[in-house]
């Protein structure tokens, strides 16, 4: 029996070998050779810290310069003189393209050039390939987004885990970070292929729209391409140099490479986000779509920052969930206790990343929707109160599934720790709150009913359940689910620890008080301001609820950090967890994947019948918002395709660990 979460050195070494031999060029022997070679050449004597800092700064400058040039160059989006945009009426209202509309330093230049409005293609101008163009783009774009989110998110926490490994000296972190990166690097090639396919599909199926987007974003697209090229270089350098730059100062060079991967990756993400937000809330163009601003004004639309924040957090949660599934897959396939221990720990870490990132996500979503409402009330109402409103019931089901699966995994995981019996009694109460809140959340406000059904029900709203259909009830439910999920998480983290600080009782009393006040706040604000005052207070009260939930999360993390400083660690048995719990780790990415498709669909559909909101109308045969069932079927198709491709990535990742034995029967050596 192992005495603590720290595994015996022998087992750790075995685990490291299990994971480190998996890299295409990272056999242990080879890694040693490289280290020896490094020593021979005296690499360790070089001032690596300074060097890596310099290399990092130079690289950032190299990336920043083209970006700065693209941003600062007045009118850097060349206004094409061609007038062959099909369907364009060149006789645009003169006042709409007057120089007065330009409000930037490019005004003089732009005014002297011809301001070309956005093309307005007619139905006949859209190529017909025999299947729905929108469906083709929908599938390819969503798959590209999934993989893009994954490969951009994984290096964020890989870098963090690698750094923790360096700081703690625990080589398990090193091994895990390397293995996560292996999956990400394998998925990177698929991301590129899907990106290329998406670009081809868009240019083929929506030539006028893409022509317009190229005109608006101009040379920024080339900067994007250059960044993508740079990302490819640094991702593979980061992955393949893992063993070559493993110890001492060389490790800092490797961490700098990881930082570079993330800098370039995040820049790529925010640049491509700008295309999506430009379509929703165009900026830097006038009322008819003629470019009047510089690229910075075009990029920095009113929804850009909100979407950047939302996608940044969501990507980490998604990435965590997918690598969690990888760990679960490897756990279920493991043959030895050592392997099981390793992948159990990996699954736990991945789930930790996914759930911790997921907790603040609703607030980032709230911020995004607030910005959408601030930009256009009509757009906000279309999303939340119009034809798309029913989708939020599906969203509730998905988020409920994520939280229930995440909690179930935590509860199951507690069984591997000997000190968990102190907290297991609370699980049933947490489960009750979660399930009750989930049921309230999915209760619809109104139902489409026949007159007979209305009479039977006693009205369009049920006299008891109707109360749960409105936003105040949902807000209470969501916040309680988040608070109690954090409670599960906190209990799980405490399960293997015994606090030794003198103020333990006072600390626990403070934590209980914080929970109690937060729950009271959430319920009181929801009930009193939601049902007994007017709408103005109802909206304002949700801020109080969010603040209460965030207070619990933040104070819980801070308090436990100090409360369990130098705590006595109780034995944990990694690998001693049920197979059933691993399916919770599959449920998370499946629900996340579906949820991303759903929310992406909502975000995109609020433009209704516009390619670029209010500027370039969509006149294609697919310019309608499809019914939820159709959209749901599309999401399922994309999700299944993604799962199949991800399983392929997992399989390819494990393939490199397998080695064919030389044929013994013939006695011949391979190659002879």
């Amino acid at each position: 029996m192992m005495k603590s979460r720290e595994l015996p050195a022998g087992e750790i070494n075995k685990m490291i070998r299990v994971s480190s031999i998996s890299g295409p060029s990272s056999s242990t022997a080879k890694g040693r050779d490289i280290r020896f070679a490094g020593s021979r050449f005296g690499w360790h004597k070089l001032p690596w810290k300074k060097l890596s800092l310099h290399v990092g700064l130079v690289a950032i400058l190299m990336l920043a310069i083209p970006l700065f040039v693209a941003i600062s160059e007045p009118g850097s989006t060349p206004v094409l003189a061609s007038s062959d945009w099909s369907g364009v009426t060149q006789a645009v209202a003169a006042e709409a393209v007057t120089p007065a509309a330009t409000t930037n330093t490019a005004a003089g230049d732009a005014a002297s050039k011809e301001l070309i409005p956005a093309p307005q293609p007619e139905a006949k101008d859209y190529p017909n390939i025999g299947v729905s163009s929108r469906s083709v783009v929908w599938i390819v774009a969503q798959l590209h987004l999934y993989f893009g989110a994954f490969v951009l998110a994984v290096p964020i926490f890989v870098l963090l885990i690698e750094w923790i490994g360096v700081k703690t000296g625990d080589s398990r972190y090193e091994a895990m970070a390397h293995e996560f990166m292996k999956i990400s690097a394998t998925a990177y090639a698929i991301t590129s292929l899907l990106g290329g396919t998406l670009a081809f599909a868009l240019f083929l199926l929506y030539p006028d729209f893409m022509g317009y987007m190229m005109r608006v974003f101009g040379s920024q697209t080339l900067v994007y391409a250059a960044l993508f090229f740079s990302e490819s270089i640094v991702v593979y350098l980061y992955y393949y140099s893992w063993d070559a730059l493993r110890y001492g100062n060389a490790k800092w060079a490797h961490l700098t490479l990881g930082l570079l991967v993330n800098v370039v990756g995040l820049t790529l993400m925010v640049m491509s986000n700008a295309w999506a937000t430009f379509m929703m809330a165009p900026s830097g163009v006038n009322e008819v779509g003629a470019v009047t601003g510089n690229i910075w004004q075009i990029l920095k639309g009113p929804l850009w920052n909100a979407l950047n924040l939302h996608r940044f957090i969501a990507n980490i949660a998604f990435g965590g969930a997918v690598v969690g599934a990888y760990a679960a897959y490897r756990f279920l396939s493991s043959k030895t206790p050592e392997e099981k221990a390793h992948y159990d720990w990996m699954g736990y870490t991945a789930n930790f990343i996914a759930i911790l990132s997921f907790l603040p996500l609703p607030f980032a979503g709230y911020y995004l929707m607030a910005e959408v409402y601030a930009y256009s009330q009509t757009m906000g109402i279309t999303a939340m109160g119009g034809i798309l409103a029913w989708l939020f019931i599906v969203q509730a089901v998905l988020i409920g599934a994520i939280l229930l699966a995440g909690n179930y995994y935590l509860w199951s995981g507690m069984s591997r720790t000997e000190g968990s019996e102190r907290y297991q009694g609370y699980i049933k109460y947490i489960a009750f709150v979660l399930v009750t809140s989930f049921l309230v959340w999915i209760t619809p406000h109104t139902l489409i009913l026949s007159p007979a059904e209305i009479r039977l029900l006693g009205g369009a709203n049920h006299h008891i359940l109707g109360v749960f259909g409105i936003m105040p009830a949902k807000n209470i439910a969501v916040n309680l689910m988040l608070i109690f999920t954090f409670l599960s998480f906190q209990l799980f983290r405490r399960a293997d620890k015994v606090a030794v600080v003198s103020w333990e009782r006072a600390g626990n009393a403070l934590m209980v008080t914080i929970y109690a006040v937060a729950v009271f706040n959430v319920v009181f604000a929801g009930v009193y301001y939601g049902y007994f005052t007017n709408t103005l207070y109802k909206v304002g009260s949700s801020v109080m609820q969010v603040a209460s939930t965030l207070t619990v999360i933040i104070s819980g993390i801070i308090l436990d950090t100090y409360l369990y400083k130098g705590a006595r660690i109780l034995p944990s048995h990694w690998g001693k967890v049920t197979n059933r719990s691993q399916y919770a780790l599959f449920a998370l990415p499946v629900a996340f994947t579906w949820l991303m498709a759903l929310m992406g669909y909502v975000r995109s559909s609020v433009r209704t019948h516009w390619h670029v909101n209010n500027i370039m109308r969509d006149n294609s045969p697919d310019n309608f918002i499809p019914a939820i069932g159709y959209a749901g079927n599309m999401m399922t198709i994309v999700t299944i395709l993604f799962i199949a491709m991800v399983l392929f990535v997992f399989w390819v990742s494990t393939l490199s660990e397998k080695k064919q034995l030389p044929p013994e029967s013939s006695g011949q050596e391979v190659g002879q």
């Binding site: 009330q377 918002i625 399922t636």
Partner: protein, 273 residues
């Protein structure tokens, strides 16, 4: 085997989510379609009917102008009275002289006059209403006049906007959601009560129905304001012994102001003129 199990589990979960999406009401959101209008046979009433369609459809007016208090509930206001009040207000900044020019101005320069209490938060004299001739609503001049015609007709006022000329051949929003006929205004309270089916549930006129309260009996005991509120917000106060959510809550949109007032006065008088 593990691969198959994992695939099967993922597939089942995905199908469950799909099932939920397919169980919900299935509605498609069509893009507005341009419709040609035969101007040679256009009458003021038909023009007002087109305005009705635009008001409740392409114009998206009812997103805010409804009973929820986001903007003045035009459906229950007589715009002739509102125009008088606005033009007499010291805060009025526009140049309108009559109902037509006031409505026109309100749509194109919403901040020329902001009805007290409906300004932007922190800037009470700035209207949150978008200029409806500009995107996203972007109504044409002919469509704007059609909306004015509807707003005049719904209150029983004269339609004063000019009909579009025969050569204009305007494209207006799809009228599939509208009745296609001019709003026929009831001439008397009895006609209005029959028109809106009040007699189906209430004891009033010759009806002895008991689904809703006996209006002949309770009417004289109530104030006009209470009766008006009970028609517009039927669930605001439920008479003991009766259930909520039975009476339709969209009469504010269905009735014009003159009809509503006739009904209110008729009920207050105990079913007598």
């Amino acid at each position: 085997m593990i691969l198959l199990r994992v695939l099967g589990f993922s597939l089942l979960l995905t199908l469950f989510f799909t099932l939920v999406a397919n169980l919900l009401p299935q509605v498609e959101g069509d893009a507005p379609k341009a419709t040609k209008v035969d101007l040679s046979s256009l009458t003021p009433e038909k023009y007002a009917a087109i305005g009705d369609t635009i008001f409740h459809g392409k114009g998206t007016c009812t997103l805010c102008h409804n009973e929820r208090g986001r903007a003045p509930n035009i459906a229950v206001l007589n715009l002739a009275d509102e125009t008088k009040k606005a033009l007499a207000d010291a805060n009025y900044q526009g140049n309108a002289t009559d109902i037509e020019s006031y409505i026109h101005e309100s749509m194109l320069k919403p901040s020329a006059y902001v009805v007290p209490g409906f300004g932007k938060k922190g800037a009470p004299n700035v209207s949150p209403m978008p200029t409806i001739s500009k995107p996203p609503i972007a109504l044409s001049a002919i469509e704007i006049n059609a909306v004015i015609a509807y707003l005049q007709a719904k209150d029983g006022n004269d339609i004063t906007v000019p009909l579009p000329s025969a050569d204009a051949a305007p494209a207006v929003a799809d009228n599939s959601g509208g009745s296609g006929d001019a709003p026929a205004i009831a001439a008397t309270a009895e006609e209005a009560l029959n028109k809106y089916g009040c007699t189906a549930c209430h004891t009033i006129l010759d009806s002895e129905a008991d689904t809703g309260p006996n209006l002949k009996k309770v009417g004289p005991t109530l104030s006009e304001e209470f009766i008006r509120k009970s028609i517009i917000y039927p669930n605001a106060d439920i008479t003991k012994g009766y259930e909520a959510d039975i009476m339709p809550d969209d009469f504010a949109e269905q009735m014009n102001v003159k009809e509503l007032e006739m009904i209110v006065k008729f009920i207050r008088a105990g079913g007598k003129k």
